[in-house]
Amino acid sequence: MTGWRFVLRAASGRKAEAVARLTVQQQLAYKTDFLLRSSFLLLILFVFVQLWTAAYGGDSAKVISGFTMKEIIWYLVFTESLTMAAPPLTAKVEEEVKSGDIAVRLIRPMSYLGYHYSAFLSEAAFRCAVHLLVGSAVAWSFVGAPDFGFGWPGFMALSLGALTVAFLLNASVALCAFWVEETAGLQFVLQKLQFTIGGMLLPVDLMPGWLQRVCAWLPFQAALYLPARAAVHYDGAMLLRFAAVQIGWIAVLGALVAFMYRRGVRKLYVNGG
Protein backbone atom coordinates (compact mmCIF):
# COMPACT_ATOMS: atom_id res chain seq x y z
CA MET A 1 0.00 0.00 0.00
CA THR A 2 2.80 2.39 0.97
CA GLY A 3 4.61 1.45 -2.24
CA TRP A 4 1.52 2.22 -4.34
CA ARG A 5 1.12 5.56 -2.63
CA PHE A 6 4.73 6.40 -3.39
CA VAL A 7 4.30 5.47 -7.06
CA LEU A 8 1.10 7.54 -7.29
CA ARG A 9 2.76 10.52 -5.61
CA ALA A 10 5.79 10.30 -7.92
CA ALA A 11 3.51 10.13 -10.98
CA SER A 12 1.50 13.10 -9.77
CA GLY A 13 4.76 15.05 -9.19
CA ARG A 14 5.87 14.30 -12.75
CA LYS A 15 2.50 15.47 -14.09
CA ALA A 16 2.74 18.72 -12.11
CA GLU A 17 6.25 19.24 -13.44
CA ALA A 18 5.03 18.67 -17.02
CA VAL A 19 2.21 21.20 -16.55
CA ALA A 20 4.72 23.71 -15.12
CA ARG A 21 7.11 23.18 -18.06
CA LEU A 22 4.31 23.63 -20.61
CA THR A 23 3.07 26.78 -18.89
CA VAL A 24 6.50 28.41 -18.95
CA GLN A 25 6.92 27.47 -22.63
CA GLN A 26 3.55 29.03 -23.34
CA GLN A 27 4.66 32.24 -21.60
CA LEU A 28 7.83 32.36 -23.69
CA ALA A 29 5.76 32.07 -26.86
CA TYR A 30 3.98 35.39 -26.20
CA LYS A 31 6.94 37.73 -25.88
CA THR A 32 5.09 40.88 -27.00
CA ASP A 33 2.44 40.36 -24.36
CA PHE A 34 5.18 39.94 -21.79
CA LEU A 35 6.97 43.10 -22.87
CA LEU A 36 3.74 45.12 -22.75
CA ARG A 37 2.96 43.86 -19.25
CA SER A 38 6.46 44.75 -18.10
CA SER A 39 6.14 48.25 -19.57
CA PHE A 40 2.97 48.72 -17.50
CA LEU A 41 4.94 47.76 -14.38
CA LEU A 42 7.53 50.39 -15.32
CA LEU A 43 4.80 53.02 -15.54
CA ILE A 44 3.16 52.06 -12.25
CA LEU A 45 6.46 52.05 -10.39
CA PHE A 46 7.36 55.41 -11.91
CA VAL A 47 4.04 56.81 -10.64
CA PHE A 48 4.72 55.36 -7.16
CA VAL A 49 8.21 56.88 -7.11
CA GLN A 50 6.63 60.28 -7.85
CA LEU A 51 3.89 59.79 -5.24
CA TRP A 52 6.19 58.68 -2.43
CA THR A 53 8.82 61.30 -3.27
CA ALA A 54 6.07 63.91 -2.86
CA ALA A 55 4.85 62.28 0.37
CA TYR A 56 8.36 62.23 1.90
CA GLY A 57 8.98 65.77 0.60
CA GLY A 58 11.98 64.41 -1.29
CA ASP A 59 13.81 63.75 2.01
CA SER A 60 15.62 60.41 1.63
CA ALA A 61 16.78 60.38 5.29
CA LYS A 62 13.27 60.75 6.76
CA VAL A 63 11.94 57.62 8.52
CA ILE A 64 8.16 57.09 8.77
CA SER A 65 6.88 54.07 10.73
CA GLY A 66 10.28 52.43 10.28
CA PHE A 67 10.44 52.99 6.52
CA THR A 68 12.73 55.33 4.59
CA MET A 69 11.67 56.45 1.11
CA LYS A 70 14.14 53.99 -0.42
CA GLU A 71 12.70 51.10 1.59
CA ILE A 72 9.15 52.04 0.58
CA ILE A 73 10.06 52.10 -3.12
CA TRP A 74 11.82 48.71 -2.92
CA TYR A 75 8.92 47.35 -0.85
CA LEU A 76 6.59 48.36 -3.71
CA VAL A 77 8.86 46.62 -6.24
CA PHE A 78 8.39 43.36 -4.31
CA THR A 79 4.62 43.70 -3.81
CA GLU A 80 4.02 44.79 -7.42
CA SER A 81 6.19 41.96 -8.77
CA LEU A 82 4.14 39.41 -6.84
CA THR A 83 0.77 41.02 -7.62
CA MET A 84 1.33 41.35 -11.33
CA ALA A 85 2.74 37.82 -11.48
CA ALA A 86 -0.57 36.16 -10.61
CA PRO A 87 -2.24 34.69 -13.73
CA PRO A 88 -5.99 35.32 -14.30
CA LEU A 89 -7.16 32.10 -12.61
CA THR A 90 -10.72 33.32 -12.01
CA ALA A 91 -11.30 34.15 -15.68
CA LYS A 92 -9.84 30.77 -16.73
CA VAL A 93 -12.06 28.72 -14.41
CA GLU A 94 -15.15 30.79 -15.27
CA GLU A 95 -14.49 30.25 -18.98
CA GLU A 96 -14.03 26.50 -18.45
CA VAL A 97 -17.32 26.27 -16.57
CA LYS A 98 -19.23 28.41 -19.09
CA SER A 99 -17.87 26.70 -22.20
CA GLY A 100 -18.10 23.20 -20.75
CA ASP A 101 -14.34 22.63 -21.20
CA ILE A 102 -14.26 21.66 -17.54
CA ALA A 103 -15.69 18.27 -18.55
CA VAL A 104 -12.45 17.51 -20.42
CA ARG A 105 -10.32 18.71 -17.52
CA LEU A 106 -12.20 16.56 -15.00
CA ILE A 107 -11.65 13.30 -16.88
CA ARG A 108 -7.90 13.86 -17.17
CA PRO A 109 -5.76 11.73 -14.84
CA MET A 110 -4.75 14.71 -12.74
CA SER A 111 -6.50 16.60 -9.95
CA TYR A 112 -8.37 19.65 -11.30
CA LEU A 113 -7.08 21.91 -8.53
CA GLY A 114 -3.62 20.33 -8.76
CA TYR A 115 -3.47 21.13 -12.48
CA HIS A 116 -4.40 24.77 -11.90
CA TYR A 117 -2.01 25.06 -8.96
CA SER A 118 0.94 23.79 -11.03
CA ALA A 119 0.07 26.12 -13.92
CA PHE A 120 -0.50 29.08 -11.57
CA LEU A 121 2.72 28.56 -9.62
CA SER A 122 5.00 28.11 -12.62
CA GLU A 123 3.54 31.06 -14.53
CA ALA A 124 3.58 33.31 -11.45
CA ALA A 125 7.19 32.36 -10.52
CA PHE A 126 8.37 33.03 -14.07
CA ARG A 127 6.55 36.36 -14.32
CA CYS A 128 7.67 37.40 -10.84
CA ALA A 129 11.34 36.89 -11.76
CA VAL A 130 10.96 39.09 -14.86
CA HIS A 131 9.02 41.72 -12.91
CA LEU A 132 11.72 41.82 -10.25
CA LEU A 133 14.31 42.55 -12.93
CA VAL A 134 12.21 45.33 -14.46
CA GLY A 135 11.19 46.77 -11.08
CA SER A 136 14.75 46.69 -9.78
CA ALA A 137 15.89 48.74 -12.76
CA VAL A 138 13.34 51.46 -11.88
CA ALA A 139 14.02 51.45 -8.13
CA TRP A 140 17.78 51.29 -8.55
CA SER A 141 17.84 54.29 -10.90
CA PHE A 142 15.60 56.45 -8.67
CA VAL A 143 16.52 55.52 -5.08
CA GLY A 144 19.74 53.52 -5.34
CA ALA A 145 20.90 49.92 -4.95
CA PRO A 146 19.16 47.55 -2.56
CA ASP A 147 21.24 46.95 0.57
CA PHE A 148 18.96 44.65 2.55
CA GLY A 149 21.52 41.96 3.53
CA PHE A 150 19.61 38.67 3.74
CA GLY A 151 16.47 40.43 2.50
CA TRP A 152 16.61 38.80 -0.94
CA PRO A 153 16.83 35.22 0.38
CA GLY A 154 14.14 36.20 2.91
CA PHE A 155 11.86 37.29 0.07
CA MET A 156 12.58 34.11 -1.91
CA ALA A 157 11.85 31.96 1.13
CA LEU A 158 8.40 33.48 1.64
CA SER A 159 7.50 33.80 -2.05
CA LEU A 160 6.38 30.19 -2.46
CA GLY A 161 4.00 30.53 0.50
CA ALA A 162 2.85 33.94 -0.77
CA LEU A 163 2.00 32.60 -4.23
CA THR A 164 0.25 29.58 -2.70
CA VAL A 165 -1.91 31.84 -0.52
CA ALA A 166 -2.60 34.01 -3.60
CA PHE A 167 -3.62 30.88 -5.54
CA LEU A 168 -5.96 29.71 -2.77
CA LEU A 169 -7.58 33.15 -2.42
CA ASN A 170 -8.11 33.33 -6.18
CA ALA A 171 -9.31 29.72 -6.32
CA SER A 172 -11.92 30.39 -3.63
CA VAL A 173 -13.35 33.15 -5.85
CA ALA A 174 -12.85 31.18 -9.08
CA LEU A 175 -14.79 28.17 -7.76
CA CYS A 176 -17.80 30.45 -7.18
CA ALA A 177 -18.25 30.00 -10.96
CA PHE A 178 -19.97 26.69 -10.06
CA TRP A 179 -22.77 28.68 -8.42
CA VAL A 180 -22.84 32.15 -10.06
CA GLU A 181 -22.53 33.16 -13.71
CA GLU A 182 -20.10 36.07 -13.33
CA THR A 183 -17.14 36.07 -10.97
CA ALA A 184 -15.41 39.16 -12.40
CA GLY A 185 -16.99 41.47 -9.81
CA LEU A 186 -15.91 39.29 -6.89
CA GLN A 187 -12.43 39.08 -8.41
CA PHE A 188 -12.27 42.89 -8.60
CA VAL A 189 -13.13 43.16 -4.92
CA LEU A 190 -10.60 40.48 -3.91
CA GLN A 191 -7.93 42.26 -5.95
CA LYS A 192 -8.65 45.60 -4.27
CA LEU A 193 -8.61 44.00 -0.82
CA GLN A 194 -5.12 42.69 -1.63
CA PHE A 195 -4.12 46.16 -2.88
CA THR A 196 -5.28 47.86 0.31
CA ILE A 197 -5.35 45.69 3.43
CA GLY A 198 -3.00 43.19 1.77
CA GLY A 199 -0.34 45.90 1.88
CA MET A 200 0.39 46.17 -1.83
CA LEU A 201 0.09 49.96 -2.06
CA LEU A 202 0.99 50.80 1.51
CA PRO A 203 2.95 48.78 4.09
CA VAL A 204 0.65 47.64 6.90
CA ASP A 205 2.99 49.44 9.37
CA LEU A 206 1.81 52.80 7.96
CA MET A 207 -1.86 52.01 8.58
CA PRO A 208 -3.74 53.11 11.72
CA GLY A 209 -3.31 50.79 14.74
CA TRP A 210 -6.89 49.45 14.66
CA LEU A 211 -6.53 48.44 11.01
CA GLN A 212 -3.18 46.74 11.64
CA ARG A 213 -4.91 44.59 14.27
CA VAL A 214 -7.70 43.71 11.79
CA CYS A 215 -5.17 42.90 9.04
CA ALA A 216 -3.33 40.54 11.36
CA TRP A 217 -6.44 38.30 11.39
CA LEU A 218 -6.91 38.27 7.62
CA PRO A 219 -5.09 36.16 5.01
CA PHE A 220 -4.36 39.00 2.56
CA GLN A 221 -1.09 40.17 4.10
CA ALA A 222 0.37 36.63 3.86
CA ALA A 223 0.37 36.99 0.07
CA LEU A 224 2.08 40.39 -0.24
CA TYR A 225 3.04 42.25 2.92
CA LEU A 226 4.96 39.45 4.67
CA PRO A 227 7.44 38.62 1.86
CA ALA A 228 7.97 42.30 0.96
CA ARG A 229 8.48 43.27 4.60
CA ALA A 230 10.94 40.37 5.06
CA ALA A 231 12.85 41.66 2.04
CA VAL A 232 13.36 45.24 3.21
CA HIS A 233 13.53 44.57 6.99
CA TYR A 234 15.12 41.15 7.31
CA ASP A 235 15.14 39.42 10.68
CA GLY A 236 15.61 35.65 11.14
CA ALA A 237 13.06 35.25 13.97
CA MET A 238 10.52 37.35 12.10
CA LEU A 239 11.01 35.22 8.98
CA LEU A 240 10.09 32.08 10.91
CA ARG A 241 7.02 33.80 12.37
CA PHE A 242 5.93 34.96 8.92
CA ALA A 243 6.44 31.45 7.50
CA ALA A 244 4.28 30.01 10.30
CA VAL A 245 1.51 32.54 9.51
CA GLN A 246 1.63 31.54 5.83
CA ILE A 247 1.46 27.82 6.67
CA GLY A 248 -1.55 28.46 8.90
CA TRP A 249 -3.41 30.32 6.17
CA ILE A 250 -2.49 27.73 3.55
CA ALA A 251 -4.07 25.06 5.78
CA VAL A 252 -7.26 27.09 6.38
CA LEU A 253 -7.70 28.28 2.80
CA GLY A 254 -6.71 24.87 1.41
CA ALA A 255 -9.49 23.24 3.44
CA LEU A 256 -11.97 25.88 2.25
CA VAL A 257 -11.02 25.46 -1.42
CA ALA A 258 -11.16 21.64 -1.19
CA PHE A 259 -14.62 21.87 0.43
CA MET A 260 -15.89 24.30 -2.23
CA TYR A 261 -14.54 22.11 -5.01
CA ARG A 262 -16.17 18.94 -3.63
CA ARG A 263 -19.54 20.70 -3.25
CA GLY A 264 -19.30 22.53 -6.58
CA VAL A 265 -18.29 19.63 -8.75
CA ARG A 266 -21.16 17.55 -7.34
CA LYS A 267 -23.76 20.02 -8.67
CA LEU A 268 -22.05 20.56 -12.01
CA TYR A 269 -23.95 19.61 -15.17
CA VAL A 270 -22.28 19.94 -18.53
CA ASN A 271 -24.63 19.96 -21.50
CA GLY A 272 -23.57 19.11 -25.02
CA GLY A 273 -19.90 18.96 -26.01
Binding site: T32, D33, L36, S39, F40, L43, I44, F46, V47, Q50, L51, T53, A54, A55, I64, S65, E181, E182, A184, G185, L186, F188, V189, K192, L193, F195, T196, L201, L202, L206, M207, P208, L211
Partner: protein
Amino acid sequence: MEYRLSFALLAGMMFVNNLLWLFFWSLFFNRFPVVNGWELRDVMMLWAVGAGGFGWASVLFGNFHRIAAIVSSGQLDVYLSQPKPVLLGVLASRMSVTAAGDLLFGLAIYAWVGDRSLAGACAFALGLLISGLLFMGVMLIAGCLAFYLGNSEGIASQVFNSFVSLTTYPADIFRGMARIALFSIVPAGFISYLPIGLLRDFDPAFAAGALAMAVGSCLAGAWLFGRGLKRYGSGNAIAMRS
Protein backbone atom coordinates in the same frame (compact mmCIF):
# COMPACT_ATOMS: atom_id res chain seq x y z
CA MET B 1 -32.75 45.55 -17.73
CA GLU B 2 -33.91 41.98 -18.28
CA TYR B 3 -31.33 40.65 -15.78
CA ARG B 4 -31.78 43.12 -12.94
CA LEU B 5 -29.91 41.13 -10.29
CA SER B 6 -26.92 40.57 -12.58
CA PHE B 7 -26.93 44.31 -13.45
CA ALA B 8 -27.07 45.30 -9.78
CA LEU B 9 -24.27 42.88 -8.89
CA LEU B 10 -21.93 44.01 -11.67
CA ALA B 11 -22.57 47.73 -11.17
CA GLY B 12 -22.44 47.29 -7.38
CA MET B 13 -19.09 45.49 -7.53
CA MET B 14 -17.60 48.32 -9.58
CA PHE B 15 -18.94 50.78 -7.02
CA VAL B 16 -17.27 48.77 -4.21
CA ASN B 17 -14.09 48.46 -6.29
CA ASN B 18 -13.81 52.26 -6.59
CA LEU B 19 -14.70 52.68 -2.94
CA LEU B 20 -11.78 50.44 -1.96
CA TRP B 21 -9.43 52.72 -3.91
CA LEU B 22 -10.74 55.65 -1.91
CA PHE B 23 -10.13 53.58 1.22
CA PHE B 24 -6.45 53.34 0.20
CA TRP B 25 -6.32 57.11 -0.33
CA SER B 26 -7.92 57.71 3.05
CA LEU B 27 -5.15 55.60 4.65
CA PHE B 28 -2.52 57.47 2.67
CA PHE B 29 -3.83 60.93 3.61
CA ASN B 30 -4.28 59.79 7.21
CA ARG B 31 -0.47 59.46 7.27
CA PHE B 32 0.32 62.41 4.94
CA PRO B 33 -2.56 64.93 5.28
CA VAL B 34 -1.36 67.32 2.51
CA VAL B 35 0.74 66.18 -0.45
CA ASN B 36 1.85 68.92 -2.85
CA GLY B 37 -1.30 70.90 -2.01
CA TRP B 38 -3.68 67.94 -2.41
CA GLU B 39 -5.95 66.75 0.37
CA LEU B 40 -8.18 63.68 0.63
CA ARG B 41 -11.22 65.62 -0.59
CA ASP B 42 -9.40 66.58 -3.80
CA VAL B 43 -8.52 62.96 -4.53
CA MET B 44 -12.12 61.95 -3.82
CA MET B 45 -13.28 64.53 -6.36
CA LEU B 46 -10.62 63.25 -8.78
CA TRP B 47 -12.19 59.79 -8.53
CA ALA B 48 -15.68 61.28 -8.82
CA VAL B 49 -14.90 63.15 -12.00
CA GLY B 50 -12.71 60.36 -13.48
CA ALA B 51 -15.00 57.42 -12.72
CA GLY B 52 -18.12 59.46 -13.53
CA GLY B 53 -16.72 60.61 -16.89
CA PHE B 54 -15.59 57.11 -17.79
CA GLY B 55 -18.98 55.85 -16.62
CA TRP B 56 -21.21 58.00 -18.85
CA ALA B 57 -18.92 57.48 -21.85
CA SER B 58 -19.00 53.69 -21.39
CA VAL B 59 -22.75 53.56 -20.77
CA LEU B 60 -23.61 55.58 -23.89
CA PHE B 61 -20.68 54.60 -26.14
CA GLY B 62 -19.53 51.29 -24.66
CA ASN B 63 -17.35 50.29 -27.61
CA PHE B 64 -14.98 53.25 -27.41
CA HIS B 65 -12.17 51.19 -25.90
CA ARG B 66 -12.83 48.16 -28.12
CA ILE B 67 -12.17 49.77 -31.51
CA ALA B 68 -8.83 47.95 -32.00
CA ALA B 69 -10.45 44.56 -31.28
CA ILE B 70 -13.41 45.30 -33.58
CA VAL B 71 -11.19 46.42 -36.47
CA SER B 72 -8.55 43.69 -36.21
CA SER B 73 -11.08 40.88 -35.85
CA GLY B 74 -13.07 42.02 -38.88
CA GLN B 75 -16.22 42.74 -36.86
CA LEU B 76 -16.39 46.17 -38.48
CA ASP B 77 -18.06 44.58 -41.53
CA VAL B 78 -21.33 44.36 -39.63
CA TYR B 79 -21.39 48.11 -39.00
CA LEU B 80 -20.49 48.97 -42.59
CA SER B 81 -23.76 47.46 -43.73
CA GLN B 82 -25.73 49.63 -41.28
CA PRO B 83 -26.88 53.26 -41.73
CA LYS B 84 -24.16 55.93 -41.44
CA PRO B 85 -22.33 57.37 -39.55
CA VAL B 86 -20.31 54.20 -39.03
CA LEU B 87 -18.34 55.49 -36.05
CA LEU B 88 -21.46 56.45 -34.11
CA GLY B 89 -22.95 53.03 -34.86
CA VAL B 90 -19.82 51.27 -33.61
CA LEU B 91 -19.54 53.34 -30.44
CA ALA B 92 -23.18 53.26 -29.41
CA SER B 93 -23.86 49.60 -30.16
CA ARG B 94 -22.62 48.44 -26.76
CA MET B 95 -23.40 49.52 -23.23
CA SER B 96 -21.03 48.68 -20.40
CA VAL B 97 -22.99 47.42 -17.40
CA THR B 98 -20.13 47.76 -14.93
CA ALA B 99 -19.61 51.37 -16.02
CA ALA B 100 -23.05 52.21 -14.66
CA GLY B 101 -21.47 51.54 -11.26
CA ASP B 102 -18.68 54.00 -12.11
CA LEU B 103 -21.20 56.67 -13.05
CA LEU B 104 -23.23 56.13 -9.88
CA PHE B 105 -20.02 56.17 -7.85
CA GLY B 106 -19.00 59.51 -9.38
CA LEU B 107 -22.38 61.06 -8.60
CA ALA B 108 -22.43 59.62 -5.06
CA ILE B 109 -18.96 60.96 -4.22
CA TYR B 110 -19.91 64.37 -5.65
CA ALA B 111 -23.06 64.38 -3.49
CA TRP B 112 -20.93 63.42 -0.49
CA VAL B 113 -17.97 65.83 -0.68
CA GLY B 114 -18.57 68.05 -3.73
CA ASP B 115 -19.69 71.66 -3.93
CA ARG B 116 -23.48 71.33 -4.26
CA SER B 117 -24.14 74.97 -5.20
CA LEU B 118 -25.38 75.70 -8.74
CA ALA B 119 -21.92 76.89 -9.81
CA GLY B 120 -20.35 73.79 -8.22
CA ALA B 121 -22.82 71.47 -9.97
CA CYS B 122 -22.15 73.16 -13.33
CA ALA B 123 -18.37 72.85 -12.82
CA PHE B 124 -18.77 69.16 -11.91
CA ALA B 125 -20.97 68.54 -14.98
CA LEU B 126 -18.32 70.22 -17.14
CA GLY B 127 -15.66 68.06 -15.47
CA LEU B 128 -17.66 64.91 -16.29
CA LEU B 129 -18.02 66.06 -19.90
CA ILE B 130 -14.28 66.78 -20.29
CA SER B 131 -13.27 63.54 -18.62
CA GLY B 132 -15.65 61.34 -20.67
CA LEU B 133 -14.68 63.01 -23.97
CA LEU B 134 -10.97 62.65 -23.19
CA PHE B 135 -11.31 58.95 -22.39
CA MET B 136 -13.16 58.45 -25.67
CA GLY B 137 -10.81 60.60 -27.74
CA VAL B 138 -7.61 58.95 -26.49
CA MET B 139 -8.99 55.43 -26.86
CA LEU B 140 -10.37 56.21 -30.31
CA ILE B 141 -6.94 57.39 -31.47
CA ALA B 142 -5.25 54.32 -29.92
CA GLY B 143 -7.92 52.00 -31.38
CA CYS B 144 -7.47 53.43 -34.89
CA LEU B 145 -3.88 52.13 -34.90
CA ALA B 146 -5.46 48.79 -35.83
CA PHE B 147 -6.20 50.20 -39.32
CA TYR B 148 -2.48 50.73 -39.84
CA LEU B 149 -0.73 48.10 -37.71
CA GLY B 150 -3.15 45.19 -37.95
CA ASN B 151 -3.53 43.43 -34.63
CA SER B 152 -2.90 46.24 -32.15
CA GLU B 153 -5.23 45.02 -29.42
CA GLY B 154 -2.32 44.63 -27.01
CA ILE B 155 -1.09 48.18 -27.58
CA ALA B 156 -4.61 49.64 -27.32
CA SER B 157 -5.24 47.75 -24.10
CA GLN B 158 -1.92 48.97 -22.71
CA VAL B 159 -2.77 52.57 -23.65
CA PHE B 160 -6.14 52.12 -21.95
CA ASN B 161 -4.68 50.72 -18.71
CA SER B 162 -1.89 53.29 -18.59
CA PHE B 163 -4.20 56.23 -19.34
CA VAL B 164 -6.77 55.14 -16.75
CA SER B 165 -4.00 54.64 -14.14
CA LEU B 166 -2.47 58.05 -14.80
CA THR B 167 -5.83 59.76 -14.41
CA THR B 168 -6.25 58.37 -10.89
CA TYR B 169 -3.18 60.00 -9.29
CA PRO B 170 -2.92 63.70 -8.39
CA ALA B 171 -1.39 65.65 -11.28
CA ASP B 172 0.82 67.65 -8.89
CA ILE B 173 2.96 64.69 -7.80
CA PHE B 174 4.60 64.80 -11.24
CA ARG B 175 7.46 67.17 -11.95
CA GLY B 176 9.61 68.15 -14.96
CA MET B 177 9.32 66.15 -18.16
CA ALA B 178 6.74 63.78 -16.67
CA ARG B 179 4.43 66.73 -16.01
CA ILE B 180 4.93 68.13 -19.52
CA ALA B 181 4.11 64.69 -20.99
CA LEU B 182 1.00 64.50 -18.82
CA PHE B 183 -0.38 67.63 -20.43
CA SER B 184 0.67 66.86 -23.99
CA ILE B 185 1.48 63.38 -25.38
CA VAL B 186 -0.53 61.53 -22.72
CA PRO B 187 -3.19 64.11 -21.83
CA ALA B 188 -4.19 62.37 -18.58
CA GLY B 189 -3.24 65.53 -16.70
CA PHE B 190 -6.31 67.29 -18.12
CA ILE B 191 -8.39 64.86 -16.06
CA SER B 192 -6.16 64.49 -13.01
CA TYR B 193 -5.88 68.27 -12.54
CA LEU B 194 -9.65 68.87 -12.84
CA PRO B 195 -10.27 68.77 -9.03
CA ILE B 196 -7.89 71.73 -8.61
CA GLY B 197 -8.03 73.68 -11.88
CA LEU B 198 -11.79 73.38 -12.40
CA LEU B 199 -13.46 72.45 -9.11
CA ARG B 200 -11.39 73.97 -6.27
CA ASP B 201 -9.54 77.02 -7.67
CA PHE B 202 -11.25 77.67 -10.99
CA ASP B 203 -8.64 78.50 -13.62
CA PRO B 204 -10.36 79.62 -16.88
CA ALA B 205 -7.22 78.99 -18.97
CA PHE B 206 -6.91 75.39 -17.71
CA ALA B 207 -10.66 74.73 -18.11
CA ALA B 208 -10.62 76.07 -21.68
CA GLY B 209 -7.47 74.07 -22.48
CA ALA B 210 -8.94 70.87 -21.03
CA LEU B 211 -12.18 71.30 -22.98
CA ALA B 212 -10.26 72.04 -26.18
CA MET B 213 -8.06 68.98 -25.64
CA ALA B 214 -11.11 66.78 -24.97
CA VAL B 215 -13.03 67.95 -28.05
CA GLY B 216 -9.84 68.02 -30.15
CA SER B 217 -8.90 64.44 -29.27
CA CYS B 218 -12.41 63.23 -30.17
CA LEU B 219 -12.30 65.07 -33.49
CA ALA B 220 -8.80 63.72 -34.19
CA GLY B 221 -10.03 60.21 -33.35
CA ALA B 222 -13.06 60.59 -35.66
CA TRP B 223 -10.81 61.86 -38.46
CA LEU B 224 -8.37 58.98 -38.01
CA PHE B 225 -11.29 56.53 -38.02
CA GLY B 226 -12.57 58.01 -41.30
CA ARG B 227 -9.10 57.77 -42.85
CA GLY B 228 -8.70 54.26 -41.51
CA LEU B 229 -12.01 53.14 -43.00
CA LYS B 230 -10.66 53.92 -46.46
CA ARG B 231 -7.75 51.51 -45.83
CA TYR B 232 -9.90 48.85 -44.21
CA GLY B 233 -10.08 45.50 -45.95
CA SER B 234 -12.95 43.25 -44.93
CA GLY B 235 -12.18 40.72 -42.24
CA ASN B 236 -14.15 38.24 -44.34
CA ALA B 237 -15.68 37.01 -41.10
CA ILE B 238 -19.14 35.60 -41.69
CA ALA B 239 -20.89 36.35 -38.42
CA MET B 240 -24.04 37.82 -37.02
CA ARG B 241 -24.36 40.04 -33.99
CA SER B 242 -26.22 38.27 -31.28
